[in-house]
């Protein structure tokens, strides 16, 4: 029997039901046996570093809030439970391969990969290359398996499924998309090699997630735009669409099928990439952090290194962010504000213009200005002065007894120079307060660890900020106060406390889902552009939309920074057009720009389902609108052109 015949016979065998049943049983038994061995080994000895560290913690160690916080986090993810999840996922993946009829193919690939990669990893000189190769093989095989799975799901005899399935085939056979897929897989496999081993572990993990997730998203965004446009525009240019649209395929089915295909490809690539990132982050987490002799074993028995503490509580976390509340309620309805407003208007009428704020529009404008001014004035602390701020709804943080993080940035009007430092004192809590004193650069965020004991029984945290550093001098020198030269401002968005409320793994999954939702909307925009424009023009338009959407948060500031009028208050047409366009774009894409999953994941901030659902709904509506436009365009468009002489 020739080799080709043997391969064909093996292929027939792996596609047979008998093989699939037997292989499934064998794989299930093997995975179960492996997991049981692992679980017994872990529970019967101190092989696991985490278990060992937890066992060594003394009562004295646990008095430290930081140690307690990390110990809680580590206890919440026991190795047996983690092992069970890993074994389950592994089993599902292998069963998927088997039932896709690729069991033997992947077995052969795995053996061949081991034979090639094994020796490369063994030698120091080739280890890096071997690991990259292993990463590429793992990502590629996962991608192929997932893609086949999706193709199987889309195997129904319906126009939508047929078009979508065809798009998937096109995606892996068209040079344009294959280039991006290869770049994605190779780039992701090579990324770990670019990390600086001398860095703090938390920075290494943050860098990897930032470049990994961010890079994957941008590559996929570019792929989605190009591919989404190409799959429709080129089909029209090459007239292939004639043979599809002369079949019983409605315009809505065609567009929907294209969208399902493009966003399906993006989903598969996103899933493979994020799984790779997730697994590698877990690998990094198991390495020794700065100040540790071995993973989780800090220098000095039982203590937790600062690097590990920040990693576990701020990076690999899902923290809820709470903005500050001012002691005086600054809002239009408050009687104090209304009195102040009336007095201010009367004063201006008396001193400046007797018809000041007599019209409704002028009145509303002045009211808004005054409120902003009062808030800004409160948030600006003069040298030597202090202001108190409040953070509400922190009952859970107090109950969980986990440290909070205060993230704070100071702004100095007109002088945010990076080389000038300001002395700042932070006093958290209500009584027996311990001052935290820092030198801060203007415009730079600094984090302060705040004890949960500073929260009162109502769940309110009070933080007082002093512009300067009052302290008692050494050897009875008495009270010494060092104040800054300028007032410091505490902007609302950069003066927040955060605390851990959930599992970072789930947060990671939510973030990946949110990114995919963004890609899906981009896919529909690209398809819409492709229905009525040529490939280059449609690509340009779709990319324009992508950049505008990404920048729409910045565009929303146009009104504040650019405005409609010149210095004398006269309306300027060019400013009006520019600012109005920017504000319109901001309004259209605010749902897109407000959803920043990469930032949330990297900074360990919670992405609650409710917030995601709201943004997803907004993006969903936008997607439906573009879908309707694409269908309208397809129905109105004459697909054929004049071919005469």
């Amino acid at each position: 029997m020739r080799l080709a015949d043997r391969i064909r016979a093996a292929d027939r065998a792996q596609k047979s039901r008998t093989f699939k049943l037997i292989a499934s049983a064998v794989v299930a038994l093997l995975v179960l046996a492996a997991f049981a061995t692992y679980a017994i080994a872990i529970t019967s000895s101190s092989n696991d570093p985490v278990t060992a560290v937890l066992g060594e913690l003394t009562a004295e160690d646990l008095e430290s809030e930081n140690v307690r916080a990390v110990a809680d986090i580590l206890r919440s993810s026991t190795p047996v439970a983690t092992g069970a999840v890993a074994a389950g996922v592994l089993l599902l993946v292998i069963l998927a391969w088997v039932w896709l009829g690729l069991g033997l193919t992947f077995l052969v690939l795995a053996l061949a990969s081991t034979l090639v990669v094994g020796p490369l990893v063994y030698f120091d000189a080739t280890r890096g290359f071997g690991l990259i190769l292993a990463g590429i093989l793992a990502l590629t095989t996962s991608f192929v398996a997932l893609l086949e799975g999706l193709r199987m799901i889309l195997g129904f005899s319906s126009p939508v499924c047929a078009v979508a399935r065809n798009v998937l085939a096109e995606g892996v056979r068209m040079k344009l998309s294959v280039v991006f897929i290869v770049m994605l897989i190779v780039g992701l496999a090579a990324l770990p090699g670019l990390l600086d081993g001398e860095q703090f572990l938390r920075y290494r993990i943050q860098s990897f997630m930032q470049f990994g997730i961010g890079g994957v998203f941008w590559l996929l965004a570019i792929l989605t735009v190009f591919f989404g446009v190409a799959t429709v525009a080129r089909e029209q240019r090459d007239k292939i669409i004639w043979q599809t649209m002369t079949k019983p395929v409605a315009a809505w089915q065609y567009v929907l099928g294209k969208w399902v295909g493009v966003s399906g490809l993006a989903a598969v690539l996103m899933l493979v990439s994020s799984a790779g990132i997730f697994l590698f982050v877990n690998h990094l987490r198991s390495l020794p952090a700065d100040g540790e002799l071995a993973p989780y074993q800090a220098v000095g028995s039982g203590a937790v290194s600062n690097d590990r503490l920040i990693l576990e509580t701020r990076v690999l976390a899902a923290r809820r962010v709470v903005n500050s509340r001012l002691p005086t309620p600054f809002d239009y309805e408050h009687p104090d504000f209304q009195t102040r407003l009336e007095n201010e208007i009367l004063e201006r009428r008396r001193t400046q213009n007797e018809r000041f704020a007599t019209t409704e529009a002028e009145y509303l404008e002045f009211r808004e200005e005054l409120l902003k001014e009062l808030i800004a004035r409160y948030r600006s602390i003069e040298p030597g002065e202090n202001e108190a701020f409040f953070f509400d709804g922190l009952q859970q943080a107090k109950a969980d007894n986990r440290p909070l993080t205060l993230s704070m940035r100071i702004d100095v009007r007109g002088n945010n120079a990076p080389d000038v430092f300001y002395r700042v004192t932070v006093l958290p809590g209500w009584q027996d307060r311990v001052a935290i004193q820092r030198q801060m650069g203007a415009g730079v965020i600094q984090n302060f660890t705040i004890s949960p004991s500073a929260i009162d029984d109502e769940g309110v945290l009070r933080i007082e900020v002093i512009n300067g550093q009052p302290r008692f001098g050494p050897q009875g020198q008495g009270f010494i106060a060092t104040f800054n030269q300028n007032a410091i401002g505490l902007p609302d968005e950069a003066f927040v406390v955060a605390y851990d409320v959930g599992d970072w793994r789930l947060n990671f999954m939510r973030g990946v889902f949110a990114l995919w939702v963004k890609l899906s909307m981009l896919a529909m925009i690209a398809i819409f552009a492709g229905t009525f424009l040529s490939f280059p023009v449609a690509s340009l338009v779709a990319f324009g939309v992508l950049f505008v959407a990404e920048l729409s948060g910045f565009l929303g500031k146009a009104e504040d920074y650019y405005g409609y009028n010149d210095y004398e208050g006269n309306l300027q047409l060019y400013k009006f057009i520019g600012t109005s366009s920017a504000m319109l774009m901001h309004w259209l894409f605010r749902g897109y720009s407000e959803l920043k999953p990469t930032e949330n994941i990297v900074q360990g901030l919670m992405l609650p389902w409710l917030a995601i659902a709201r943004q997803v709904a907004l993006l969903g509506v936008a997607t439906v609108v573009f879908y309707a436009l694409a269908v309208f365009s397809m129905r109105r468009r004459e697909l054929a052109i004049y071919s005469g002489q």
Partner: protein
Amino acid sequence: MTTATAQPSTAAKSGKQVIACQQLTKTFRDFWLRDRARAVDAITFEVRTGEIFGLLGPNGSGKSTTIKMLLGLLRPTRGRIAVFGKPPTDVGVKKRIGYLPEESYLYGFLNAEETLDYYGKLFEIDPGTRKRRIGELLEMVGLTHVAHRPVRDYSKGMQRRIGLAQALINDPDLLILDEPTTGLDPIGTRQVKDLIIELGRRGKTVLLSSHLLADVEDVVDRMVILYGGRIRDEGTAESLLTDTGHTTIETDALDEETLAEIDRLIRERTSGANGVRRVARPRQKLEQLFLNIVERAQRERLETSGALHGGETASFLKADETEPTRSGDALIEDLMTSDEQIEPAEVEPEADQPDQPAERASELIADLVEGEAEPPNAAAPEPEAGDPSRPPEPEPIDNTGVDDDVIGSLLADEDEDGRR
């Protein structure tokens, strides 16, 4: 697909209206909405069930534009179109249509099998039927051995073949073929013609456009001839093509003496008004020569990387798969008729035959004059010399390897319809 004697199907002239165009006009405009070209100018025609209808005309005469309007790819500027009584953009109507464009526009990254599978799914054909039809169609168009090669690697002719197969995947009631023989070799051309005839026999409606008139003249029942976007002539193939001013007599080779005798006889009968105008020895057609060469090569098992000689017409396209069961008597009658009719197909092409003896020629002359003697082949119907209403005889075709059922059924129809 088998080669068979080309014969137009009998159009059910009283059949239902399949296509109706009234004052159909298409004007293309430029970016500034100025009239750029009037491709179709107020044409009116209709096609009925079972007809094989030809849209003929030179390049740029409006054939393809008309077809694109019929398929909803273009919107008419004026006039009305109905396909199966509905607008051509109706998705339900498209379920009953098969379309082969003037060039095969296919997904280059798919192979032949995937291509047919894709189009089959668009028609929501169930997996079992789809798989069976794909196999039969690939066999029919001779692409089974290259079914797993990407379509982009196919030659133009092979792409036309897969294009034809995709047009038939849904067993359409209306088949629209735009320049179907373009890019095909003589074998492919012959197969397309046979297929059209086969479908016509099944009561399917076929609309085809072509500027290669020789390729369609022996296939279409009725046609319109377009030029400059307007209909210049229309009618049945017989009424448009029969030359009533001349008579052609075809016999085995004759010597000079016999020819002189015939000339004398004709002059005598017409009082000297008519005589033999031209005497020539017919040449074998290039197409026939080509077919014979390929046939020989295939018998010698020479390999080719291109399309093979197509197989039998896909069974789901043949009458015997879906036609209702006929009565035993009718079947027996058909079979008897078929047996009688097969013989003429076995006549060797004239070019391969040696010259006949002069005696036999004399007998033939006598037969012609007296009109009593048996024709050389008793089973063949006797042509009435001088009957202008009869269309010309089809070209003889080498039927080696021809499926007897197909030919039998074809001949049976000839007999039933009383044509040729």
